[in-house]
């Protein structure tokens, strides 16, 4: 067995000379490619928007967008498709980072889900996700007449995402047809659209989870403390370890030393018992399990991500 190289976290080698030509270290190369993607998408779209939740990937994406248009502000607003069940810390971080970037933040909550009081406890993960996130996203994109939405998804997250284009076309109903994707050659992206179509653009396509953390460390980005181990109120529900973020569900809590690997709605985010309190420690700990293993919404059926994506989920 070969072991994976552990990155020296915080290592910043932006550029170095090697036998003449300038070469980029892998992280700087990923950064440059993502900036190119963001600039290209913004140049070709009429009304672009950037999805922003405050999670680690979207923090990285926002940082890259700011770099892409520095010293000007990125020429698009941020959009958060809210469910009302996110971690309180994430709401604060979301607002702080949007304000720091000087960008407009649109928060959309599906009025139908709101009126029906849809929640993960009474209605289950599938319906909750479909109405609040998938439908909510479609409503927000239609309402803003956005023809292009940036998302922070990476191809290494999940098998169907490994098949996704960087510039991914959505049908007039926001659906994804994996068999009819445009060929995408070189770093040459086709940003044109047929009638009613829209684009989802993923600047972090070629990044791995490890790259994201190495970049967070190198750029000293602010991310949620939830990613780092601490004593938190928890409960076990349907075999999953949850961090109880508020008392709406009246759950009985036990204090445990835990952290999360990805953040979604708190009742749907599986936490792990962990002592990892630094980036180095969490990178070491994440080897051996896949990132979205803690996302309860991926487990409701086989090939579940592919199906959700076909219906318009990010």
């Amino acid at each position: 067995m070969h072991s994976l190289r552990r990155f020296t976290i915080g290592e910043a080698v932006p550029i170095r000379r090697r036998n003449g030509p300038l070469t980029l270290d892998p992280l700087s190369r990923l950064e440059a490619e993502a900036i190119q993607i963001i600039r290209e998408a913004a140049a070709e779209a009429e009304r672009p928007v950037m999805l922003f939740s405050g999670g680690k990937d979207s923090c990285v994406m926002l940082h890259l967008a700011r770099k892409a248009f520095f010293p000007a502000r990125p020429p698009f607003p941020l959009l958060h498709v809210d469910t009302g069940w996110k971690f309180a810390e994430l709401y604060r971080l979301r607002d702080d980072l949007a304000a720091e970037a000087g960008m407009a933040l649109i928060v959309h909550r599906n009025p139908e889900a709101e009126a029906r009081g849809i929640n993960p406890f009474d209605h289950g993960a599938t319906l909750h996700t479909e109405l609040w996130k998938t439908e909510g996203l479609k409503q927000a994109l239609d309402a803003g007449r956005f023809d292009l939405a940036f998302g922070g998804a990476r191809r290494d997250e999940e098998m169907s995402r490994a098949k996704e284009r960087v510039f991914s076309v959505r049908s007039p109903g926001h659906g994804w047809d994996p068999k009819r994707q445009r060929p995408e050659l070189w770093q040459l992206y086709n940003g044109r659209l047929g009638a009613g179509e829209s684009l989802r653009v993923f600047p972090l396509s070629d990044w791995t989870e490890r790259d994201v953390w190495a970049y967070v460390a190198r750029e000293q980005l602010k991310v949620a403390s939830l990613y780092f181990a601490a004593e938190r109120p928890t409960c076990i529900r349907d075999d999953a370890l949850l961090i109880v973020d508020d008392d709406r569900a009246g759950l009985e809590v036990t204090m445990r030393r835990v952290r999360v690997r990805t953040v979604g709605c708190w009742p749907l985010t599986g936490a792990i018992e962990s002592g990892a309190a630094t980036i180095e420690a969490i990178v070491a700990e994440m080897e051996g399990t896949s990132e979205r293993a803690g996302r309860l919404i991926d487990k409701d059926q086989t090939a579940s991500m592919e199906r959700k994506k076909r219906e318009g989920y990010f």
């Binding site: 169907s160 098949k163 659209l193």
Partner: protein, 591 residues
């Protein structure tokens, strides 16, 4: 640590490609335990779509990410089947190296040659030949060497510099990441070692080139883009292509602060010392000027179900430039199995050929062999917006540098001014027998009576003269409209109000003519007569002939008519007669 290596794997159906990839990922520790549990075999790691798992084949390119202590890799797993050639070309376009998989029992197949040819065409110069299923060949050294030499001869013909042949058994992991104890006669590297030691694509040797992606307006103007080749420093004298305007680099701006130098691959924003005309699509260039031309020869990989229509206007995107372009009739296409040059009138899905391309205005580029970023382009369908082809520029055609547009002292505006009118192009479109010529005649008579200078280009009349060499195939119809459009444009420039009556069945060509003239000067008039009614009238007796099979490619019968989506004027001939229609049209014109 060596720079990132991007590579692709290609093989024929049942060569064990997915198993090999699964094995490679597993042996590198890149497979998560929760994903490994309950996996029937390694091949399921690579095939990510439901349809792929159901059918047991790879359909689309998957990108997989893994690494060792020595190196990081991005693997593009591409399908082997001929019907997915476009996906293979996609994976090859960014790869530094190709792993070509061969079944030891079957040896080098026509598919192996095909994959290698495509990979080579897309610019890959390093190959690893993985001879798989050695267990089924009894780990026989002679068999391995036979296949290695067979491929070696072919590779030499193609011009591939470096081939590393490795005998493997993917199922058990022999020579994948660990040396095989069952093939001690093999002394070369394992597959993983070969990948760790391979060279990344050599950087382009061209001087500084940077396509401008966007202009950032802050205190001044910053030209943002990714450096495609060479390097740049403040104070460098550069030029802005294709115009050739000289400029000087003042600053290289990034969020971390100004840079003293920027090199290939870096995303930067450049401030120039003085104000110049420069925008998205222009290229900043140092050293020798880049090539600028509007005609060149290129290889094309056709990627659309709808075949190439020579003469049709597509959009060509190269770097950050997007221009209208037409493809001439192919010089040849490559035979699927033999890769020999065959005569061709068009290119169908997954076909590869060579053709001349004409762009509507000169573009700045470099030959593909010198730069993938500046010599690779895509063609986009103007209506569907889909990517229909990938192209690689060979060289500019010399004649394009010799024909320069003459600047004329008397301008179109001056000519129109003398006639005291605003030139317009009234483009009548509709089925045969819809009433286009009748209505256009009446409109011209009314305009003439008002003292307007007009000319009517009638489809039938033009086909008797200017276009008498053209038939009614789709390609000829495209050329028919292109010539009519160009002729109309000349008359517009002469100051005339031009009326045309052509069936002009395809949206793409009507859009092309629209793009020839100034915005607002193209008036599309849809003479809307349902097919049944046109056929009932059948003034020229043509529908009867077509139905009897005496006329091929007749619009509405065995050739399509694409209805205008948003014509400027819509005439429903079932509700108004020709005279009323002509009155309506004249009333809507601002001439």
């Amino acid at each position: 640590m060596k720079p990132l290596l991007r590579f692709l794997t290609c093989g024929s159906v049942d060569d064990g490609k997915s198993t090999l990839i699964g094995r490679l990922l597993h042996d590198c520790g890149a497979v998560a335990q929760d994903r490994l549990a309950g996996l029937a075999d390694f091949s399921l790691l690579a095939d990510g779509l439901e349809a792929e798992r159901e059918q047991g084949i790879t359909i689309d390119v998957a990108h997989l990410y893994f690494g060792t202590e020595k190196r990081r890799f991005i693997l593009a797993d591409t399908p082997g089947h001929e019907q997915y050639t476009r996906n293979m070309a996609t994976g090859a376009s960014t790869a530094d190296l190709a792993v070509v998989l061969v079944d030891a029992a079957k040896g080098v197949l026509t598919q192996t040659r095909r994959h290698s040819t495509i990979a080579h065409l897309l610019g890959i110069r390093q190959f690893v030949l993985a001879v798989n299923k050695m267990d089924l060949a009894g780990f026989d050294r002679a068999r391995f060497e036979e296949i290695r030499d067979d491929f070696g001869r072919f590779a030499e013909e193609l011009g591939i510099d470096a081939v590393t042949a490795i005998p493997v058994c993917a199922l058990d992991g022999d020579n994948v990441a660990e040396r095989s104890g069952r093939m001690v006669w093999y002394e070369g590297p394992t597959l993983l070692a070969a990948l760790e030691d391979a060279n990344s694509q050599a950087p382009s040797s061209l001087p500084f080139r940077m396509p401008v992606q966007t202009v950032i307006r802050d205190a001044g103007r910053l030209y943002a883009g990714t450096v495609a080749s060479g390097s740049v420093k403040p104070g460098d004298r550069i030029e802005i292509a294709p115009a050739g305007t000289p400029a000087e680099v003042a600053r290289i701006v990034t969020m971390e602060g100004d840079l003293a130098e920027a090199g290939a691959g870096q995303a930067v924003a450049i401030a120039l010392a003085s104000e110049v005309d420069c925008s998205r699509g222009d290229m900043l260039a140092g050293g020798d000027a880049p090539q600028v031309a509007d005609q060149f020869e290129a290889s094309l990989v056709w990627m659309s179900e709808e075949a190439l229509l020579p003469g049709r206007q597509y959009l060509l995107k190269l770097g950050t430039q997007t221009v209208p372009a037409t493809v001439q009739e192919p010089k040849y296409k490559l035979g699927i199995d033999t890769m020999e040059q065959l005569a061709a009138k068009t290119l169908a899905l997954n076909e590869i050929g060579v053709a001349n391309i004409w762009t509507a205005r000169p573009i700045a580029f470099e030959p593909y062999a010198a730069s993938r970023a500046l010599g690779g382009f895509i063609l986009i369908d103007r209506i569907a917006a889909s990517t229909v082809a990938a192209g690689m520029i060979h060289f500019a055609l010399r004649r394009s540098e010799n024909v320069h547009e003459q600047t004329l002292a008397v301008t179109p505006a001056l000519r129109a001014g003398l006639k005291q009118q605003r030139p317009k192009l009234l483009w009548f479109t509709g089925l045969s027998g819809a009433g286009k010529s009748t209505i256009a005649n009446l409109v011209e008579a009314k305009l003439h009576a008002r003292g307007r200078h007009t000319f009517l280009l009638d489809g039938d009349n033009v086909r008797l003269g200017l276009n008498k060499d053209l038939g009614f195939t789709a390609a000829d119809r495209v050329e028919n409209i292109r010539r009519a459009g160009e002729a109309a444009k000349l008359m517009l420039d002469a100051g005339l109000i031009v009326l045309t009556a052509f069936i002009s069945p395809f949206r793409a060509e009507r859009a092309m003519v629209r793009s020839l003239v100034a915005q607002g000067d193209f008036i599309e008039i849809f003479v809307d007569t349902p097919l049944a009614e046109a056929e009932r009238r059948d003034t020229k007796g043509l529908y009867k002939k077509a139905r009897a099979g005496q006329l091929a490619n007749f619009t509405g019968v065995d050739s399509p008519y694409e209805t205008p989506e948003t014509p400027e004027i819509h005439i429903d001939t079932l509700t108004i007669d020709a005279e009323a229609a002509a009155e309506l049209i004249v009333s809507k014109l601002d001439v």
